[in-house]
Subunit: 214 residues, 2 copies
DNA sequence: ATGCCAAGTGAACGACCGTACGTTCCTGGG
DNA sequence: CCCAGGAACGTACGGTCGTTCACTTGGCAT
């Protein structure tokens, strides 16, 4: 094998795996990870049921791979773009803004993938549960770190309770998503934006670095 | 038939129906409404599968009946007790406190029934979706009405944005539930309590009618 | 006592599920 | 050239699903 070149056979498998996962994240955001079915996937993608099965080894492994694929999409849509804004309260706001756009634009057709899947597996033990918990914990930690950076930059009041602020912001984001999907109404994103900005204005040392509250 | 006396045969059916629903709300709060299975219910309750089926006519009707049964429990645990506190900011707080207790004490083993079920059916059309949306809308309307009563009582600042405040409070409650179930950790209820009380203190005309922020 | 009617049973159905196994096809390495 | 090995296929298996239907049982009214 030429150095560094990947085996074309394996690459073909990875490509099919990506094809499958592109569909499973969509399905799971609407119908949940238990709504995935090998037979249905196979017929939708013109593959054989046993072929799809062989790509992942088990349904549970397919579910976990689906969660990991959704994480990649989320990082791409929210976390990575937010890094382009310099640390501080502006980055915290940018993170929230990107998250709301990610939800509103239905990057996943059923709204935030993790909202659906976390509610589905929250009370069920097992590897899938653990993978979801891990993803959620990483997200929360990132929000808290971003807030902490804002404090260190002198952008956010020194005495701010990081855990509490992160809790409040995430709560606004998640309810905006849940409500808009449930009632098929995007007006709630405006309410959430107001809630987030009001909260950030209250802790920002220099409110002019933030948009006005609508 | 004696006047006002119900037919004992029908009453027997209602009793069995209640027996089934007592179990389905538990299961659905953990595994979702799609996790309900007639065969499993029958064997757990020592009934015949076709008997359970006949009681509800279809699985979909069983799911809707389960949602209605959960509404009754919720009213009993949260809404009705809150009415014992006189209208005003204290009743708003009492409502939130009761809700957090309802979630934390696991009245349903999977946490708030509606959190699980709303996430499951949010993006799926059909009668079950509509029933869930209706229940959620009633709850939100009740919170908003309770806040409005607080304003009318002079307890809450006149200019308060009712929709926004209701959104924020409900967001805190729901994330507390979601987080505590997902991570099997009840510490988040303290964070949520702080968030709720801080928000209410900010709009209360007489903060002494509220507990101190922890 | 007789007839009606709802509750509940038991067996059977067609459909779909996840999984297993042997085969075919194709590509890269010796 | 030949063959090792991964992708993908076809078929089959055991099991569970929701639903149907003919039936027994037992409380109610006449």
């Amino acid at each position: 094998m030429a150095e560094g070149r990947t085996d074309g056979r394996i690459e073909r498998g990875n490509q099919t795996r990506r094809l499958v996962l592109r569909r499973t994240v969509e399905i799971a955001s609407v119908e949940g990870l238990e709504g995935l079915s090998l037979g249905r996937l196979a017929s939708e993608l013109n593959l054989s049921k046993s072929g799809v099965f062989a790509l992942f080894g088990s349904k549970e492994e397919l579910q976990q791979a689906t969660v990991r694929a959704a994480v990649d999409v989320f990082l791409d849509q929210v976390v990575t773009p937010a890094r382009r804004t310099p640390p501080g309260v502006a980055r915290v706001w940018e993170l929230c803004r990107l998250w709301l756009a990610y939800s509103e634009q239905r990057v996943f057709p059923g709204g935030c993938f993790f909202y659906s899947v976390a509610a589905e597996f929250d009370a069920r033990p097992g590897p899938v549960h653990d993978t979801v918990v891990g993803a959620q914990a990483d997200w929360r930690a990132f929000v808290e770190r971003t807030i902490t950076e804002g404090i260190e930059a002198g952008d956010i009041a020194a005495g701010t309770d990081v855990t509490l602020l992160a809790f409040e912001l995430i709560a606004f984001l998640e309810l905006a998503n849940g409500d808009s999907v449930l009632r098929d109404d995007s007006a709630v994103y405006r309410t959430a934006t107001t809630a987030v900005l009001r909260r950030l204005h209250a802790v920002a040392t220099d409110p002019s670095s933030l948009p006005a509250v609508p």
